[in-house]
């Protein structure tokens, strides 16, 4: 079954790609203390070899003053860093056309490592091929060629012993700006592991009816956004209101943070009680 799964992933990747790049799977790696190892699959769907360089950094998502999510790579809390004792092999490789290769992650944690979760980030740099120099084949002409390099950074979470997580919610606020619903809330992680989950927002009118929100070309009754809370975040979310917008009046925003992720195996998502809050939204 696993072979079929990998073949399916590879066949998906080959459908649309004719340019240079590598497929990285999975997009987050969880390593248990019992296994002390993990792996990442690289696949080159292109027609030219791709040179890949692997490196590791320490970092986790935070939010800035505007609510935008950033990757904090400063070792502000090195006690949760696995950078010193998780290594990736090989560090440099060439992935041939239509070939796959595996990056191995090996953990050598310190003997006295406390129970909890430890993090690092894997940087996969792919030399995506040189764009041909364009212009007239004339030695008196000026020609320009740009090389494009893409780097993919994925999370690696190492779990030892009893790990538990949860979140607390505070300072929820929401407002309608134009055709969008803008929300922010302070989400503080609890426990000793990152909270990997989803934020759900539901807008309810004064009669208790749920008002739809726009997601692409579709209408949804609940807007969802995946989130990873490693320490504390205050993310700004913007969702589109269904056209033609909301009539004047009072509404309630129901905001909940749940330990569910549709893109991850449920066995890898640590269970945690949902955190809920609501706030009134006034459309003048």
């Amino acid at each position: 079954m696993r072979a079929i799964g990998v073949a399916f992933l590879l066949s998906l990747a080959t459908l649309s790609l004719c340019a240079q790049g590598v497929m990285v799977a999975p997009h987050v790696v969880f390593i248990s203390h019992a296994q002390r190892s993990g792996s990442v699959l690289l696949y080159n769907p292109g027609t030219q070899p791709v040179e890949v360089t692997i490196s590791t950094i320490f970092g986790y998502p935070v939010t800035d003053s505007t609510g935008a999510i950033r990757l904090d790579t400063l070792a502000a809390d090195s006690s949760v860093s696995a950078l010193a004792w998780i290594q990736a092999f090989p560090r440099r490789l060439t992935v041939g056309p239509r070939e796959r290769q595996t990056i191995r992650l090996l953990a050598r944690p310190p003997a006295a490592l406390a129970d909890g979760e430890y993090w690092l980030r894997l940087v996969i740099a792919a030399q995506a091929g040189r764009v041909p120099i364009t212009g007239v084949a004339d030695t008196t002409a000026i020609q320009i060629g740009l090389t494009l390099e893409v780097r993919t950074i994925i999370g690696v979470n190492y779990r030892k012993g009893a790990v538990h997580t949860g979140v607390s919610l505070s300072t929820l606020r929401a407002q309608v700006v134009g055709d969008s619903l803008i929300t922010r809330a302070r989400i503080e992680r609890q426990g000793n592991a990152a909270f990997i989950g989803t934020i759900r927002e539901t807008l309810v009118d004064s009669t208790g009816a749920v008002r739809a929100q726009q997601l692409g070309d579709s209408l949804v009754m609940t807007y969802e956004s995946p989130v990873g809370v490693y320490l504390t975040m205050e993310p700004r979310l913007a969702s589109a209101l269904a056209k033609p917008g909301l009539p004047r009046g009072r509404y309630w925003l129901r905001y909940e943070v749940v330990a569910e992720r549709e893109d991850l195996d449920p066995k890898l998502v640590l269970p945690a009680p949902a955190a809920r809050d609501s706030v009134q939204v006034i459309v003048p």
Binding site: R2, A25, H27, T134, L268
Partner: protein, 175 residues
Amino acid sequence: MARRQRMQIPLPALSYGRPTRDMKRESFLVIGALLLGAPLGAQGRPLTVTGIRGVTFGAVLPGVPRVILRTDPANSGQIDMRGPRGPVLLTFVLPIQMTGPAGALMPITFGASDAGFSANQTIGSQVGFDPKQPFTATLPPNGRASVFLGATASPTPNQRAGAYTATIILTVTVL
């Protein structure tokens, strides 16, 4: 049965040259990891970042700046992304000049709205952003999106003829 399937995954090349004691030890660790490793693909969806085309300037004349808009369907740079729905952080490392023959240099600049994110992969539907600043984008439910990039090359009136090159780096961080 499952263990035998794991052994079918080829071992990556560890190194070149004569093996040392440390390398042999690492080989054992790698083999151990191979035997005990978690199933591939079971931990989440794959992520693919693909450079479709670089910024294409075409013929450049001395003293005449060449502007490529991010909405230019033929000449703008394009990077396609495919992955799990959710937030990703886009960070560019951009050159300020290109290197040419005999060390000659040519300035290249990127404006505050020279990058664009398209959640439906169409060049006509972009959210512009400053490529010199990190930008948080959200991959849509189908997991597919594109980034477009424009730039301006500014050859001097006495710009030396020849080929000029530079490297653009885009980092996509899964948040």
